[in-house]
């Protein structure tokens, strides 16, 4: 499974900032697969951007330094599964004035999530939405497990009054 490693690539030109995060694939055996001349990526020195990072392995935030309340987050290896759930969770937050997602091309596994808030930085709001979604999932899981346990305990009596549908 991919492990995320932070490699910040800050190019400021005209007030726009792109934060690039590259994923490092950890292969059993400890071999690092990260392109020619690999290594030295921890401390952000890109020396003119010559490192061969495969462009697909980037999660980016497109936004402005001056106004952190609006940003587009681009995730790779994601699709409607996460994006729609995140969009739902974002909408429930009262700080969000606009949120949506799009898939630029169905062949690329890439999703752009747009968040515009009423003042709070968009990244924090997105993180809170993810956190909320996680809490929801945990609650779903615990309720489900309880229900299944209940059902199994009551199964002998349920078998007599079976088939409520059909």
């Amino acid at each position: 499974m991919a492990v995320a490693v932070v490699r910040r690539q800050e190019r400021t030109c005209g007030g726009w900032r792109q934060r690039a995060r590259r994923q490092r694939v950890v292969v059993p055996g400890g071999v690092r697969v990260c392109g020619v001349g690999g290594g030295g990526e921890e401390n952000g020195d890109d020396g003119g951007g010559k490192i061969n990072v495969p462009a697909e392995l980037e999660t980016m935030e497109h936004g402005s330094i001056k106004d952190p309340s609006k940003a587009t987050f681009s995730f790779v290896d994601e699709d409607h599964t996460l994006a729609n759930s995140l969009r739902y969770s974002l909408n429930q937050d009262a700080r969000v004035s606009y949120c949506g997602y799009s898939i630029p091309h169905p062949s690329d596994a890439r999703v752009n999530i747009r968040v515009q808030t009423t003042g709070d930085p968009a990244r924090e709001v997105l993180k809170d939405a993810c956190q909320n979604l996680k809490l929801m999932c945990q609650h779903v899981r615990s309720s489900f497990d309880e229900s299944v346990a209940d059902f199994r305990n009551n199964k002998p009596s349920k078998m007599e009054t079976s088939d409520s549908e059909n």
Partner: protein, 463 residues
């Protein structure tokens, strides 16, 4: 509005006629130049004085505007319109005691009116198409009327519940109440494509003289569900060596001898090799130890989970091939972990689907002959007849859950207003049909865990 539009035209014509009479020596070009200006002047005056009355919300506005225009016509000149407007205002004032409809005493504050709640929580399945299918998700959707549409996590916790209806070795049906379609769909998608399983990926064929081609046989082998818990294995990536942690090896050696009748090759004849591959790799160096295609460090048998229940296909009687006399198959199959996204053989469910809870509402009392007809029309017996005494019969809704939305009960004009078919938007009836590798309740739990992991990954990448 049409009435007042005509007024403008009529006024313009009258004024033009008066103007033309006074100036008989006009030439046409000056008149043509003048009348649009006149029309514009009249329209502006009309807009400024009369039209604002349209913008008021009271229901009497339309009558009053008509009265205002008629009074303008009577005065027949623009100078009299000021007085007519103040008259109108005085007439309207007594009717507008409140500032908005929400101040009326019997409107509940902080809640939506019942018709909006109904639209928000139900899909109306009409005869031609369903309506109100969207979920109103935006937290500020009802901000102008003071209703908070945002969902707090506590509210979700209080209202969410799961009820299990059926739970088998392979099939499970349960209800999820209080969740949104986006999350339910996410679970369904994950169940189909992102819960990992083990399936045969590489097939090393030593001998195949059957009528089934190599690749067809390999494809069929890949589709066999293997009952091994995928959580005990790791993924095998391209430059990994196959070892006991990421590969399961099966062997198949069948032979139909001459003189024997034709026979089928079943999946039960796949033998598990807990010690790894038996085929020796050809090595160019003559002194090297012969290596096999896998390098197992220890036998998979020694792991407690597998020592008592060996790894085998979930079903014994899957036909792989058919052999005639003299035909033989000898092969070794390596199974690895994968996700349904890459190939459907790795999908742990036959399928997983959900539907919203149907709700059938009788808008009017259906009695007598109509009740009998309604009961007969429904192919799944949603309706029932209730005897009310005195020989009177009335139709009731007995089994709304069985409704398949065939819309027979609303076919015909008189039935549309009597029966309404609804779907409850936050009540999902989930059905999961597992292929047998993992029990369905475990599958659902894994799917939820995977969604949590995705969220965690996003949080990690953003921090």
């Amino acid at each position: 509005m049409v009435h007042t539009g005509f007024n403008i035209i009529i006024k313009a014509l009258f004024l033009f006629r008066a103007f033309a009479r006074q100036n008989p020596d006009l030439n046409p070009s000056s008149v043509v130049g003048f009348s649009p200006f006149l029309g514009a002047l009249l329209a502006t005056i009309h807009y400024c004085l009369v039209a604002p009355k349209f913008r008021r919300e009271s229901n009497d506005s339309i009558d009053q505007i008509q009265e205002a225009t008629m009074s303008e016509e009577e005065s027949s000149s623009n100078s009299g319109s000021d007085e007519s407007m103040s008259e109108d205002e005085r007439r309207e004032a007594p009717k507008n005691d409140f500032s908005s409809i929400w101040d009326l005493p019997d409107v509940p504050k902080g809640q939506l009116p019942p018709h909006l709640t109904r639209q928000k929580t139900r899909v109306f399945c009409k005869a031609d198409a369903p309506t109100h299918t969207d979920n109103v998700q935006y937290s500020g959707a009802y901000a102008s009327i003071g209703v908070d549409n945002s969902l707090q996590i506590d509210f979700f916790r209080k209202n969410f519940r799961v009820e299990v209806i059926k739970l088998d070795k392979d099939v499970m049906e349960f209800d999820m109440i209080g969740i949104d379609a986006a999350i339910a769909n996410a679970f369904r998608r994950i169940l189909i494509s992102e819960v990992p399983t083990m399936a045969i990926e590489k097939v090393l064929i030593a001998n195949n003289t059957s009528l089934v081609q190599d690749e067809v046989l390999a494809h069929r082998l890949g589709l066999i569900p293997i009952s091994a818990d995928p959580r005990l294995f790791e993924y095998l990536s391209a430059n990994d060596t196959p070892n006991e942690k990421n590969t399961i090896v099966f062997k198949l050696h069948v032979h139909c001898k001459r003189g024997e009748p034709r026979r089928s090759v079943y999946s039960e004849e796949l033998q598990w090799l807990p010690n790894g591959s038996g085929f020796a790799k050809e090595s160019e160096r003559s002194d090297a130890k012969s290596s096999t295609y896998t390098s197992f460090n220890c036998s998979q048998d020694s792991v407690p989970e597998f020592s008592n229940n060996p790894i085998r296909p979930t079903d014994d009687k899957i036909i792989l091939a058919k052999l005639g006399p003299g035909q033989e198959i000898e092969l070794e199959a390596h199974a690895v972990k994968g996700m349904g996204k890459a190939h459907a053989k790795w999908s742990p469910v036959g399928t997983a689907w959900y539907r919203m809870l149907p709700e059938v509402v009788l808008e009017e009392n259906v009695v007598g002959e109509d009740a009998e007809e309604l009961k007969r029309k429904c192919p799944v017996n949603v309706f029932d007849i209730e005897d009310m005494g005195n020989g009177k019969k009335r139709a009731t809704v007995a089994r709304p859950r069985a409704c398949t939305l065939c819309r027979e009960c609303i076919r015909g004009e008189k039935w549309e207003k009597r029966v309404s078919l609804l779907r409850v938007k936050d009540h999902f009836i989930f059905t999961i049909e597992s292929t047998g590798q993992l029990p369905p309740e475990v599958l659902f739990t894994e799917a939820v865990k995977i969604l949590e992991d995705k969220c965690q990954r996003v949080i990690d990448e953003l921090s």
